[in-house]
Amino acid sequence: MLPWSIGVVWFNAMEVVAWVSVWMVGWGTNSAFPLVGGYRFLAQGLAYELPHMFALITVALGAESLDFGEIARAQDGLWFVVWMPVAFLVYLLSVLAMAFWGPFGHPVGHDLAGGAVLELAGPDRLVFEAGRYALLVVASAAAVPLFLGGGAGPLLPGWAWALVKTYLVLALLVWVRHRLPVIRMDRFMTAAWVVLIPATLVQMLVVGIVVLG
């Protein structure tokens, strides 16, 4: 019943469900450190969500559509990553933050002995971790139609290029994980609201002017 013409908004809505699940794991475990971990994730959500939404809006504005397929097709001449670099960087940052992985893994941080995941064992932990990695991979894969031109590319068929590009995005994220310590929200929140939001708004303005012109 849901046409995919609103794909981007649907993607955003489903990713926000992760807020609920991590908080519930932290709260429902009835233990101090997981509770702190759950709340760390909510703070992280508040920091990354607005820049993330503005980045998505920028992409939708540039393609004049909310449909993933349309957006990929609209990058026929020029990939969005070229003229929306700020949106791309913010999107990558939000991929890490929404999957609370790598530099944004504070909710499940080592300093709290695993944070939200501390008391999970066996199948519970397996399902949680599988979900987390799935979220990471899917969000990285979504970067391909949003910024990297979808399946466009010479020689290989569309699906193969999509896989290659997803792999490259994931490789980039893994590299970033090796290079950076965990970023804590009590330091990052100011930067997120005072730097990232204006930056994405300016990016959106630029794209809007280009689209109108």
Partner: protein, 169 residues
């Protein structure tokens, strides 16, 4: 088919709304409220307002989680472990909500609903947006961003230091 789904969602929305007042735990009340809103979002999807429906889902999830932060922070007994009644001014609330219900039902039954002329628009969301905001679209967008800027500035101005000691402030 749509009718069945509508009734299921409608009854679920009301049921979860009642559950908000029946459960002891603030966390459960938050999620009951969230479930109620999700049903409302589902109803909007049924009206072919897909964008608005999904947007309601998106926003309500985020808002309920922010509510979880404040509720657990400020309220006593957030997990409902102590049996404590959290209803205040029961008579007044019942009277007011009963009166509102009566007014709304009266409105629903007495208003002259227009007959459908023509077919539903191809993009109901766009049609709705144009009908509601019409020629003032740029104003609306600018006002939205201005509200965001105002909120951020207000918070920045209100606290000259963060909650955490030492270091970055």
């Amino acid at each position: 088919m749509r009718t069945v789904v509508f009734w299921v969602l409608a009854l679920a929305a009301v049921g979860f709304g009642v559950a908000v007042f029946r459960v002891d735990s603030m966390a459960r009340a938050t999620f009951a409220l969230l479930a109620s809103f999700l049903c409302v979002g589902g109803t909007m999807v049924l009206l072919d307002l897909h964008y608005l429906g999904v947007l309601v889902v998106l926003m309500m999830i985020m808002e309920m989680m922010v509510m979880a932060v404040f509720m657990i922070m400020y309220m006593m007994n957030p997990a409902g472990l102590m049996p404590m009644s959290m209803l205040h001014n029961r008579r007044g609330a019942l009277i007011i909500s009963g009166a509102v219900l009566v007014a709304l039902v009266a409105g629903v039954w007495t208003v002259d609903w227009p007959e459908r002329a023509g077919r539903p628009p191809g993009d109901p969301t766009r049609a709705l947006g144009e009908a509601v905001m019409g020629a003032q679209m740029p104003v609306m967008i600018v006002v939205g961003v201005a509200i965001l800027a105002t909120m951020v500035s207000a918070v920045v101005l209100a606290t000259d230091r963060g909650r955490y000691d030492g270091g970055d402030r």
